[in-house]
Point group: C2
Chain length 223, copies 2
Amino acid sequence: MSSTKTAATRRPGAAGLKKAKVRTRLDAEVRSKMIVDAAFKTIAKDGFEGLRTREIAKLAGINSATLHHHFPTKEDLIEGVASQLEGRFRAEKTNPAERESAVDALNRQLKDAIFYYMEQPEMLAVYRELVGRAPRDPVIRKLVHRLHTDWQADIVRTLNKGRHDGSFRADLDSEAAARIILSTVWGLVAHIFPSRDDFTAGFHELIKWLGSGQKNKRPAKTC
Amino acid sequence: MSSTKTAATRRPGAAGLKKAKVRTRLDAEVRSKMIVDAAFKTIAKDGFEGLRTREIAKLAGINSATLHHHFPTKEDLIEGVASQLEGRFRAEKTNPAERESAVDALNRQLKDAIFYYMEQPEMLAVYRELVGRAPRDPVIRKLVHRLHTDWQADIVRTLNKGRHDGSFRADLDSEAAARIILSTVWGLVAHIFPSRDDFTAGFHELIKWLGSGQKNKRPAKTC
DNA sequence: ATTTCTATCAAGCACATGCTTGACAACGGC
DNA sequence: GCCGTTGTCAAGCATGTGCTTGATAGAAAT
């Protein structure tokens, strides 16, 4: 006597025709990635101001409670996004060609930046948001600092190499120059450069300034 | 003492001891400035994410309804802040000294940037926030674009002058170079440079690169 | 088959937040 | 003194929002 009654009241949609929702259950890892991907897209489009857990859940096709099961707090979700971004940057890092010259290495930096700008604008948008949030969030700040430090070290290596083989000017301050280059690339990310072509022109000008002014690689500097 | 009854019922706190609030009535212009100042400080500290009309009102010492009387929407308030920032930047703009050399003019840019960094960090913080918001807000975008365009034009003028009098290298692309300089300064604002000294070192390196390599101002480039 | 584990959902709680409403009071013009 | 204008306030409305609760169901272990 109690069977039908409880079943009818307990189970929503058992008697009715309510779109028989199929509950797809996924591994935590897979679902987490789906959620982070959704958050990534939302942040790229609307920034952190536009980050609403309900929206992310809807975009990921799940209930918001499920989202909070995988990422207890919004903060956790943001860290997940940040972590994914760092991973993608490190994974997609292009390798130097064999016996690549210093100038070629710089041009690779240029090409990489333009690649992200053209093909992966979402990554740059999220990056921009993270840097903007860094002053107020210690975890993000550390992550951004890590990325920038490693990146700068790469550039310093390249510059030192070019300086020693004579292709770059002998009086180059590699540390300072690396920061200029970093800032220039950041100028592209932060839309300080109005267009891709302006950025390219700027970067080429920079490379020109770095040059020693001689084609061959002799370290001579007499006249 | 006479009309106690109506007074007691009508005026909240007239009978009690509730801190006898004095309603200070100000001109719209004055009050608006107070509100914008409060918003300015809040945005500098917590960014746009932390902008709550109630908080601003409390900081300005007024009721939030009063705030909305002067700035009907949050958007209006933000535009007020942006407008004030632009005004301050333009008003505080340092004038070139009489017969100032091109190198001196660039050093003035450097000094100005460091001045804001050290003495007016709030202005730079708000600036940073505005640039971050620009991609999503047409009004802000226009304002930022206006500032950058004017600023860049200034630098281009300086560079052209230096190029023509021989103090800068003859093969200088002034437009591209100006954008590099702009990006470098933005690197300070956006905390791409870890410290003030790193920025100074970078800027000096930049100026070194721009130089023609000769002390006097003759346009000769033979060797 | 039973149990255990946990991913998922519908509903909701508690509070935050932009903005409104209606009344009041300071001020200037008459 | 009277009155229109408007700057100010207490209270509230409607909605948004992070996160919780308690129940349900898929899957694996036993």
